[in-house]
């Protein structure tokens, strides 16, 4: 009996699943009535159904086309979800050809007096726009969308770029209830699929093969470049590889701070072309190993560019006259390139206009500048090589592919070390890369195209040391002197943020978060000498920091050098935490105890360790005669932390925050 009951229940469940009809136009009243998402009540919208179908269309007249058909049904729960009523489809344009969006249709469903009302997407809701030389977009603005609406649209993206299948999204920032993906690839194209391994979601993929028949004749030559041999009305059978995903209840992607690049953590499927094998032509291999990718890039322009010397030969000779020491040569050349050619904010590992033009015009892209740098270094007898990498916003590639690189820097190999250089950043010293280039790893390409990985993450700890001398004044103010020293990436970031400001504006900025302060006598040494430590000194008068109650002085010794908030506020963490660079921050406050007072209480000394010494915070007070010294040292040796370490990291900062806000008490000596 019980069994029967379960059986019936089972049937019912099946029944209810099938009751949902995902055919275009078959939206149910229940879908429009639904008020909140059953599993994710906070979702502003949800994808009720998404079908993604990519295949190759072979047509006698037009040749082969790569077609992607998308059908999406989205539920809008509230006003915030209305953003999803706009669908933007990106298209790619090359010099001679471009992707097209066609067969677009859309319907918005609303409920009126219990009846389903349909509003069709018409041409006045479809906008096509060419954004720039290579990119276009088509926007669908769904009509009559309001809270509760269900929208549905369908379109085909037809692409002549047969060898690149776009990434297939498997996760959005809203839940996806039902996802159907089907990719059909004829055996002419050898694609390897990759899931994003950094996503925490798992997907089942079904693979199968099917025969298909292809008729072709002698006269039919267009489109498929490899049809060379002539046959008369021939019929050939080929295989198609079919990949299918059918998944339900995909959770939304969450947004967090201190993440390198959010898309790195989304679920998606990406396709790597390994070879092509067209009828009656040999297999053509495409890049498969990083070694191969690097070699291909090297052979296609890089090598030529780093061996071109004619345009700078004479200038370099003058520049290096009388210099024999390799280190001096390196810094001379590096500074010369940075001064001579400025970065036009465009990435790329190839020269846009050629380094020669960039040299003449004084501006160029990353390829222009850093390949020029490699060429000059090599010409001067330095063992320099180009290093390919992927910038943070290009993500981390999942397989060897040319598009996995989008940037190039220079590397100089020493017997047991390597110096990395990026001349596009006018504040960077040797071995200091801009943040954009500190991602994943780089591929150094040696002579003749052999290559190896190099680590791009900064390893050397940058140090900032601040020392403040404080004296109490009669009027409950304090006055003092601040001396700060910045090295390495601290100095670089100081130069990026402040070096260009004029004195008045900088003083304004310095005073901004320090309370009721007046700063004078500002002096900055080595502001512009890249590679040197910056030394900044100033005097100050600070009011409203001393509490004088019943013959006691209460005072927070860290004054404006205290950290004010914990940067980590969320309770839970989903993705790894990325800090900028390894660092040491020393803060020393020397306080002169006013005459007639003695120390009544001091904060306790503390040492907090985190992750076996990868992080350490020390807070130590010492009294020596009339002087009280407070030392705060923050030592961070590691910069990437897993979500599991989040709570410890948060606590670590919390303890520092607590220590920094503690006060000393001085009492009038009797």
């Amino acid at each position: 009996m019980l069994r029967l009951y379960f059986f019936l229940l089972f049937l019912l469940t099946i029944g209810s699943i099938h009751a949902q009809d995902f055919k275009f136009g078959k939206v149910s009243v229940a879908e429009v009535v639904e008020k909140v998402h059953p599993q994710y009540p906070e979702a502003n919208a949800a994808v009720l159904f998404r079908e993604h179908n990519t295949y190759y269309e072979i047509n006698k007249h037009t040749g082969i086309m790569l077609v992607t058909k998308v059908h999406e049904r989205i539920k809008i729960y509230n006003k915030e979800g209305v953003d999803w009523a706009e669908k933007v489809i990106s298209t790619y344009h090359s010099d001679s050809d471009h992707e097209k969006v066609s067969s677009t249709k859309g319907i918005t469903y609303n409920l009126e007096n219990g009846k389903l009302i349909k509003d069709k997407l018409r041409n006045n809701g479809i906008f096509e726009e060419k954004v720039n030389e290579y990119n276009g977009k088509v926007t669908l603005n769904m009509p009559a969308v309001t809270e509760g609406s269900v929208i549905e649209y369908e379109y085909s993206l037809r692409s002549p770029f047969l060898t690149s299948i776009d990434d297939i999204p498997l996760q959005y920032t809203i839940p996806i209830n039902h996802l159907e993906v089907k990719i059909t690839i004829p055996e002419f194209f050898g694609f390897q699929k990759h899931f994003n391994t950094r996503s925490q979601l798992d997907f089942q993929i079904n693979e199968s093969r099917k025969k298909f028949t292809y008729n072709f004749t002698q006269s039919q030559r267009s489109g498929v470049r490899a049809v060379k041999t002539s046959f008369q009305n021939n019929k050939v059978e080929y295989l198609e590889n079919i990949y299918e995903i059918s998944e339900t209840d995909i959770p939304p992607l969450k947004d967090e701070v201190y993440v390198d690049y959010l898309q790195n953590y989304a679920a998606f499927l990406t396709w790597e072309l390994q070879y092509t094998k067209f009828p009656n032509s040999p297999i053509e291999n495409f890049s498969q190993t990083w070694e191969g990718v690097a070699k291909t890039i090297f052979d296609n322009g890089l090598e030529k560019e780093i061996n071109r010397t004619g345009y700078f030969k004479n200038d370099l000779k003058k520049l290096l006259k009388g210099i024999n020491n390799p280190e001096d040569k390196i810094s001379k050349i590096y500074n010369f390139v940075r001064e001579k050619v400025k970065w036009n904010k465009l990435a790329g590992y190839v020269s846009d206009n050629g380094a020669k033009v960039a040299y003449k015009e004084g501006a160029g892209n990353t390829g222009d500048i850093n390949l020029m740098l490699v060429a000059m270094l090599k010409h001067a007898g330095i063992n320099a090589s180009p290093v390919l990498l992927s910038t943070q916003d290009n993500g981390v590639p999942l397989f060897p592919t040319r598009s996995g690189f989008n940037y190039v820097i220079a590397g100089i190999e020493l017997p047991d070390d390597i110096i990395l250089l990026d001349a596009t950043d006018h504040n960077a010293f040797l071995n200091e890369l801009p943040k954009r280039a500190r991602n994943w790893q780089g591929r150094l390409i040696r002579q003749r195209g052999s290559s190896a990985w190099v680590d791009l993450m900064p390893k050397k700890q940058a140090v900032q040391s601040k020392s403040i001398n404080i004296q109490f004044k009669d009027n409950m103010k304090v006055e003092g002197k601040s001396i700060s020293n910045y090295s390495g990436l601290f100095a670089k970031s100081y130069r990026e943020n402040f070096a260009g400001l004029n004195r008045d504006n900088y003083i304004q900025l310095l005073e901004e978060d320090k309370g009721n302060i007046v700063i004078s006598g500002l002096d900055i040494k080595n502001k512009k000498s890249i590679g040197e430590d910056i030394r900044q000194t100033y005097e100050f008068e600070l009011a409203d920091v001393v509490e004088n109650i019943n013959d006691k002085i209460y005072f927070q010794p860290m004054v404006f050098e205290a950290i004010k908030e914990n940067p980590f506020k969320a309770k839970k963490r989903h993705y790894p935490i990325f800090l900028d660079f390894p660092s040491v921050t020393n803060k020393r406050i020397n306080i002169m105890i006013p005459e007639g007072y003695k120390v009544e209480s001091l904060p306790e000394n503390t040492i907090v360790e985190f992750k076996n010494g990868k992080g350490e915070f020390k807070f130590i007070t010492t009294v020596n005669g009339n002087f009280l010294r407070v030392d705060s040292v923050l030592n961070l040796n590691e910069i990437v932390f897993s979500p599991l370490e989040y709570n410890n990291l948060k606590n670590f900062y919390e303890q520092m925050l607590n220590k920094h806000s503690e006060a000393i008490v001085l009492t009038k000596a009797r």
């Binding site: 809701g125 603005n141 969308v145 309001t146 260009g500 901004e512 506020k569 969320a570």
Partner: protein
């Protein structure tokens, strides 16, 4: 023979031209023009020629010396174009500090980009630009262009001082009008040393050696003191639509007749719906509320600015079908909906965002946004923002409050001002009970009510996700340590309107342990006081655009066994800028000590002379200092 000669003459003329016009060495700049300047306009020549009612040619040549990286944004080589406005020619030159030409950029090297790439904007405006990467400062960029437009309604005012931190060596403006269409013109804030000749159909203006202005906190709008020449044609054309206007009344009427009227028809089904919805309503104001709500529920903001659509609303029937539109379309739709119930309202053109007035004394195409005005017979005028789906009825907020708008009425245009919020209307009031524990931690329960402008800055939190709501409080009260939100509740009273937040949370180390005592800060929440930079040579008047009022109560329940050993004195400061009152009272309730702190902080709106800046700054600093006040708690045994 003849042709050779003329060719020679042309070559001669060209070389003459280049010799005289291009003297851009840095050493030629007068020293006072470097002061506070990131860039110097070496020479700007704008020549506008009206060929006919629908053909205007704008020739521009602008040489800017860029002194540092911050000056780059003043030296642009770009023009905007669309179907109605064509770029005939574009060129740019770069000179080094000695005035030597180092680059020449031809039209074909300019790049083309869609002007808007933002989400819900559709427009056929594009920009043709050259993006120069300097490798040295200073350098001089000379940009020359010729643009032809068939819309003569827009004649860009001449504003030789384009911004702060840029000085002007020489700027010339020429307006030629061979078509002899009558013109109007007017000046604003012209410097004394301006040179001008004005005849019936031609204007010549020039200024030289204007030093750079420095930006100062709390200063009036830039347009209130920067020089400007306004020019308009009495007969004009806008994308093929002709018109005639001498003043705002004419221009408003023309806009109404050509752009707005006859675009309000609604389908029967919608009319029936509105009829039904408002059937029970007893007053026009109640009806208007219902209709506003209907409009908000059924539309969203999508901007479509194609051709004349940049100036004319889409028909109400179209908006009804699509369920979206831009500010013009939605305002026109709302106007039509109200009209169906016999409620009259007016389309109102305004500058949205930072405070900016439409010039009441000179009629020209102005504004960047549209709202709706609903006149009331015996009551304050009602204003409706139609592009927001959540704002309460008759709430403008800081986007469009207190500024001139143009009412586009059938009878003619009229300039009126939108609602101004008084300090007591901009009230944020809170009451917090704080239970302290004997480790310095606390359990707090807060109720905060926001009205007026603060309403608009708080009410949207209700619609955020819980996780983000919590994070947002943790950010706002980031100075409280390790807070953990236990309860969140909101009440959005759209009638008032007022927004109430109820937050219960715990935190640590509020009271600082020092030896055997605790230091307890009196200001549980910090008052919203800005820290102003020191400025001993203030030049511009001080302007506080909106008054505000904060009333906060903090009731500290001391932990058992503790007594307040010392409490700061109460404070009461009042001056022309506002008022700050801190009232501290210690009581015993059921054997436990309760410390009650009542704080009131009022900032008046107004305008003061430059020398008052330091006084105001001192007032704020005093409040900031009082914010640090602490009570001392000691154990009783």
């Amino acid at each position: 023979m003849r042709s050779t000669f003329s060719l020679f003459l042309i070559v001669l003329l060209l070389s003459c031209f280049s010799l005289t016009a291009q003297d851009y060495e840095i050493s030629a700049i007068a020293p006072e023009l470097f002061l506070n300047a990131n860039a110097v306009v070496r020479s700007e020549e704008i020549s506008i020629e009206v060929k006919s009612i629908d053909k205007i040619i704008i020739h521009k040549k602008r040489a800017v010396t860029v002194l540092n990286e911050y000056g780059e944004r003043h030296a642009l080589a770009a023009d905007v174009y669309d179907k109605d406005r064509k770029i005939k020619d574009q060129e740019a030159y770069i000179y080094d500090e000695y005035g030597e030409e180092i680059r020449k950029i031809k039209k074909r090297h300019f790049k083309d980009h869609s002007l808007v790439t933002g989400g819900t904007l559709h427009s056929d405006n594009r920009v043709s630009y050259f993006d120069y990467t300097p490798n040295k400062y200073p350098y001089t960029l000379v940009y020359e262009s010729e643009v032809q437009s068939s819309s003569t309604i827009f004649i860009k005012p001449w504003e030789p001082m384009s911004d702060y931190l840029i000085s002007v060596e020489q700027a010339r403006y020429q307006f030629k009008n061979p078509s002899q269409i009558p013109i109007r013109f007017d000046e604003r804030n012209m410097p004394e040393k301006v040179e001008r000749t004005a005849s019936k159909y031609e204007l010549n203006y020039s200024v030289s050696n204007l030093p750079a202005r420095q930006q100062e906190a709390l200063s009036p709008d830039f347009t209130e003191f920067s020089p400007k020449l306004l020019v308009a044609l009495e007969d004009f054309s806008l994308i093929g639509v002709k018109g005639h206007a001498k003043n705002w009344e004419d221009l408003g009427r023309w806009q109404y007749e050509n752009l707005i009227s006859e675009r309000g028809r609604l389908p029967e089904t919608t009319l029936a719906k509105i009829e039904k919805l408002t059937a029970e309503a007893t007053s026009d104001s109640e009806k208007a509320r219902i209709i506003y709500n209907f409009m908000q529920e059924n539309t969203r903001y999508v901007s479509v600015q194609l051709g004349i659509g940049g100036w004319q609303p889409i028909r109400a029937s179209e908006v009804d079908k699509l369920g979206y539109g831009d500010c013009k379309a939605l305002t026109n739709y709302m106007m039509a909906l109200l009209q169906s119930q016999g409620i009259a309202s007016n389309y109102a053109v305004v500058y949205g965002g930072e405070h900016r007035n439409i010039d009441a004394k000179f009629a020209s195409m102005e504004g960047n946004h549209v709202i709706l005005q609903v006149p009331q017979e015996n009551d304050e005028t009602v204003w409706l923002e139609c592009t927001n789906q959540n704002l309460p009825f008759n709430y403008l907020g800081d986007f469009t409050d207190n500024r001139n708008v143009l009412l586009v009425k059938p009878g003619g245009g009229e300039i009126v001002s939108t609602k101004k919020y008084l300090p007591e209307e901009n009230l944020q009031k809170s009451k917090t009970n704080i239970q302290l524990n004997d480790e310095g931690g606390f359990l707090a329960s807060t109720k905060r009510v926001s009205k007026g402008i603060p309403y608009g800055n708080t009410y949207y939190i209700e619609r955020r996700k819980k996780r983000n709501q919590i994070l947002s409080y943790k950010e706002e009260w980031g100075y409280l340590k390790n807070i953990d939100i236990a309860r969140l509740e909101f009440e959005n009273n759209k009638q008032m309107p007022s927004f109430t937040e109820i937050v219960e949370f715990t935190g640590e180390k509020l009271a600082l342990k020092v030896g055997k005592r605790f230091l307890l800060p009196l200001n549980f929440f910090k008052p919203e006081v800005e820290k102003l930079p020191r400025n001993t040579h203030r030049k511009l008047p001080v302007e506080i655009k909106r008054g505000k009022m904060f009333q906060d109560g903090f009731i500290y329940h001391l932990p058992e066994g503790y007594t307040a050993e010392a409490i700061p004195e109460s404070v009461n400061i009042e001056n022309e800028f506002g008022r700050y009152v801190l009232d501290v009272v210690l009581k015993k309730v059921e054997g436990k000590e309760v410390l009650t702190v009542n704080r009131e902080y009022v900032v008046n709106e107004g305008r003061w002379n430059p020398e008052k800046y330091e006084d105001y700054r001192e007032f704020l600093n005093l409040i900031l200092a009082l914010n640090n006040q602490k009570a001392v708690l000691a154990a009783t045994h």
